[in-house]
Amino acid sequence: MLKMLSNAWLIPIPPAVAFVLIVLVTKRFKLLSALLAIFAITLSFIYSIGILLEVLSQGITMNNPVEYSVNWLSLGGETIRPLLIEAGVLIDPLTSVMLVVVTLVALLVEIYSLGYMKGDPGFSVFFGYLSFFVMSMLGLVLANNYFMMFIFWELVGLCSYLLIGFYFHKHSAAKASKKAFITNRWGDFGFMLGIFSLFLIFGTFNFNDLAEAIGRQHGAFLIIPALLVLAGPIAKSAQFPLHVWLPDAMEGPTPVSALIHAATMVAAGVYLIARGYILFTGLEAVSFAIAYIGGFTALFAAIIAVVQFDIKRIIAFSTVSQLGYMVMALGVGSLSAGIFHLTTHAFFKALLFLAAGSVIHAAHTQNIFEMGGLSKSMKITTWSFIVGALSLSGIFPLAGFWSKDEILLVTLEKGFTGLYIIGSLVAFLTAFYVFRLVFVVFFGKKKTRAYESPLSMTVPLMVLAFLSITSGFAGAPFVEKGFSSFIYFQEPHHVQVNFLIMIGSTVLALGGIALAWAVYVKKLIDPVLVTDRARSLYVVVYNKFYIDEIYHWLFYRIMMNIGKAFNWNDRHVVDGIFDGIAGLTRAAGAKLRLVHTGNLQNYALVIFASVVIIVIWMAVPVLGGIQ
């Protein structure tokens, strides 16, 4: 059934239609709007599953993707460089997996939102935005060229902005949405320059054509374009130093955090690197930079996560840290490991966020130290959160174990011993901070009254918990035709099973959990005393290494002053010139208007006079007339 693949552009259509209908028609009917959105995403999900099955059954591999496109715009020819922009879809295993991940998580999140957003005045609009986001995200995944991808890239950014600021009447939410938007502009601008420079060099935006062209001539001249393109993922996937927006983005409703700021949009950066992988792999310096940016971010964010109080912020820093893992995997040269972790992470991190949302829904606070003992009243939430936490920590045999292990394995195999050590350290810290959260929130003394959330919220939790346990088997080393022989770069790379690393990382993870248990359950060590003894260090970490403050200073002292200078220039110099021109234009219009007297004789005179003038002009050779 080739038809199915060639019509893949239909996948983003249902959410797009849902968005339009919700905004224009059904806005007043809340439940109908929500059901419409859910119905639309279900259609997309079913189609995506179909695509995945097609890809599997037709044996489409990373090296022979299928592509369907129409020319959206074609210009130029002889004297002008031809410009061809396509609108098309590119389908390979990477696309098909991303489609399923996006639509599945989106479906679960939308069902969850039925319960979570109940009674919110913006209920319909929320589902409208979610649909719009899903449409954009699917478009991004399907795009067969950088130009289209950029358009959808900006659209997901817009949705992120709208949804972070969903409670725009809250000052902090409005500020957070602006921060996310402005931070992302830096990356987007670089990304745009990057694709333009690629176009200038190779004359195409198409991924496959570019890959072919880059394959033919690859060299140091590509370092600048590659770094510019890389700016996009660094901002979107919240990598150091543009990570600052993601923790603040938690001001948005929790389902949004789960869908956009954990499972899908932030992973778009990783996806982008994977899509144009050939651009980066050939450049050792760039790959090296990617690997170390990822590794550093993973460690950096994990350290910050250890000392946070806010349940969503802890998970947000965890997301930054895990994205760092993925970027690191891509940097050291394993597309399979990076995307594998992206997939499992999408499930277990969405699970953690949604479970956290369930907790917030019940406890009405986000400070973990104001919660406690929730395990008794919220059984499903507790257990699914623990599953997510175990998966995140990388405990055998949950999903996170396989994917994280593969990253560590690849890192060591490719000779990045330093990064391997960092990665292992992060694994330890991860287990510690997430179980600190688990022990404080769900066990210990009961501090608030809380009830289990409704079924619409708990069912998605259970589904995600199931996926967080099982999805890792797709890429487990003992599986014959596993994830790494499905999604790879150039040729499948099978990592050798290394029990030493498996055992090592498991021990580290268990050690982290044990430490958390010792500190927060057994109280063998008093965390307050520890922080008191290392007060200055604690303050630095708690304040996220003052990166925000540094940016704040840079922004207000330097950017604002530059801005003010430009503003003055604009208001006085540029506006002055243009007001002058506009005034002249208007005056010219008013004067020329008077030529039209409304008098017929005048009109006739003008016509004949013009003819006479032209005749004289053409009769005089000096003026360019005939010889």
């Binding site: 129409v70 020319n71 959206w72 715009l73 074609s74 210009l75 130029g76 020819g77 002889e78 004297t79 002008i80 609108a87 506009a582 234009t585 208007r586 010219a588 219009g589 008013a590 020329l592 208007r593 030529v595 039209h596 409304g598 017929l600 005048n602 009109y603 006739a604 003008v606 016509i607 004949f608 013009s610 003819v611 032209i614 005749v615 053409m618 009769a619 360019g624 007339g625 005939i626 010889q627």
Partner: protein
């Protein structure tokens, strides 16, 4: 049947003539106060003829030794006229209903004007061309002054007749000079006669007269002065038809004569066309700014659009012709769309003042939105169709090295954004006047407006099918890119 003459080539023209005559007869049967209903019949008939044109896909034949040409170029324009005529008929329904006299004749004349345009674009010979031109123009004389109790309408009619007669005289003089020097009226033969010799002074005179004659019909500066007055005075649907279809028809004939007939002298007349194009773009856009009447504003806007269209001729390439074809189609929908809003509003308020559009968004959201998109498309803002149309035209001249001309056109487009947005500002930001109710729009008009709106958006986002068609038509018509 006369041997060797294939009358089936003329099916479209014959049907159109039959429709016009048929409408006249039906008017005799239908009682007076119900004659406006023949408008629906007109729409149906024109739709039928539009379907008939489908059978001309790819046909490229001549009738009577090159006297009459059926080629993709002509068929393309015929479809355009038919579509424009259908939209105009729909938008004249409310006007004709209120008229109270001669309702049926109105539609009949509209059909005859369309027939004139068809003859004009298909003419392969100068006399036939002139016949088509006059059939079109004379129908318009009557249509323009159809509101015989309205002083402005009558004034417009008189001005149009007198000035048009003068321009026809110029045109005829030019045609006779060309005939005198080449001893033929068939355009193809003119080209082969001229190819050998050098430019003669009399020939130059002939070309200049032709340019002036066509310049009048296309309303190029400085032959444009009739346009604002006539556009303002004529019934609004007729203004739309005059601004859109008659201009496109004259332009098509102009393209055929100059590109097919006088390619030998291109360096002479292209200079002239550049000058006219510059004047038209600059003056049309500048004088549009101080206008306070929406019809006059649209008149000047349509003058300036004609200036952009000339760029396609300046390019003197198949790309340029393709750009003209593409732009013409978009021009039909955007202009007729805008005029339909004017019609809808004036039937309810009776005013054409821009200030009376204040708060239109609250009173009639559909009208305001349609107007907004039409104006933005006319201004050439992406992602609307007008942007793509202008882009092709500008690219065509840039390919020929006229970068300054393209820059000037872009600059003038920016000026046009200003006066278009002035209207938008009034519609959306100003408060509606007190005691003004919701404006009712007839169903047929609503459908036609939404149809235009959708096309403006769709052709802007995905112009490829239409631009491919336009380019391939242009390529068979004028397969040169030198």
């Amino acid at each position: 049947m006369i041997a060797g003459i294939d009358f089936s080539l003329l099916t479209v023209e014959i049907f159109t003539a039959a429709l016009g005559l048929g409408l006249l007869i039906i008017n005799l049967i239908v009682p007076g106060n119900q004659r406006s209903a023949t408008g629906y019949l007109t729409v149906l008939g024109l739709l039928g003829i539009l379907l008939v044109t489908l059978s001309y896909e790819g046909v490229e034949k001549t009738f009577m030794d090159g006297m009459y040409i059926i080629d993709p170029f002509a068929t393309f324009f015929k479809r355009l006229f038919l579509v424009a005529a259908i939209l105009v008929t729909i938008s004249s329904l409310p006007f004709v209903k209120k008229l109270g006299y001669n309702e049926g004749d109105f539609f009949s004349l509209l059909v005859f004007a369309t027939l004139g345009m068809m003859v004009l674009v298909s003419a392969g010979e100068l006399i036939t061309l002139y016949l088509g031109l006059e059939l079109m123009t004379i129908s318009f004389y009557i249509l323009v002054s159809f509101k015989k109790k309205d002083a402005k309408s009558c004034e417009a009619g008189i001005k149009y007749i007198i000035l048009s007669a003068m321009s026809s005289a110029l045109l005829l003089y030019g045609l006779s000079l060309v005939y005198g020097l080449t001893k033929t009226t068939i355009i193809e033969q003119i080209a082969s006669t001229l190819a050998a010799g050098t430019m003669q002074p009399l020939m130059a005179l002939g070309i200049i007269f032709l340019l002036a004659g066509f310049g009048f019909k296309i309303s190029l500066v400085p032959f444009h002065m009739w346009a604002p007055d006539v556009y303002e005075g004529a019934p609004t649907p007729i203004t739309a038809f005059l601004a859109v279809a008659s201009k496109a028809a004259a332009l098509a004939a102009f393209v055929r004569i100059f590109l097919i007939g006088f390619p030998a002298y291109q360096e002479y007349w292209i200079t002239l066309v550049i000058v006219l194009s510059v004047l038209t773009m600059v003056l049309g856009n500048l004088v549009a700014i101080p206008q306070t009447n929406i019809k006059r504003l649209l008149a000047y806007s349509s003058i300036s659009q004609a200036g952009y269209l000339l760029l396609g001729i300046v390019a003197f390439s198949s790309m340029g012709i393709g750009a003209i074809l593409f732009f013409s189609i978009i021009y039909v929908f955007t202009n007729v769309g805008a005029f339909m809003v004017v019609v809808a509003l004036s039937t309810s308020t009776g005013s054409h003042k821009i200030e009376d559009y204040s708060g239109l968004y609250r009173r009639a959201p559909l009208l305001a939105v349609v107007m907004l998109f039409c104006l933005l498309s006319l201004a050439g803002l992406p992602p609307l169709a007008g942007f793509v149309g202008k882009l092709y035209l500008f690219i065509a001249v840039i390919e020929k090295g006229y970068i300054w001309l393209a820059l000037l056109a872009v600059l003038m487009s920016m000026v046009s954004v200003y006066y278009y947005l002035l209207v938008v500002k009034v519609m959306f930001l100003k408060e509606p006047p007190q005691n003004s109710g919701i404006i009712k729009v007839p169903n047929g008009l609503q459908i036609a407006m939404v149809f235009s709106l959708i096309l403006i958006i769709v052709l802007g986002i995905y112009p490829k099918p239409l631009s491919d068609l336009a380019m391939s038509v242009a390529h068979t018509f004028f397969p040169f890119s030198f």
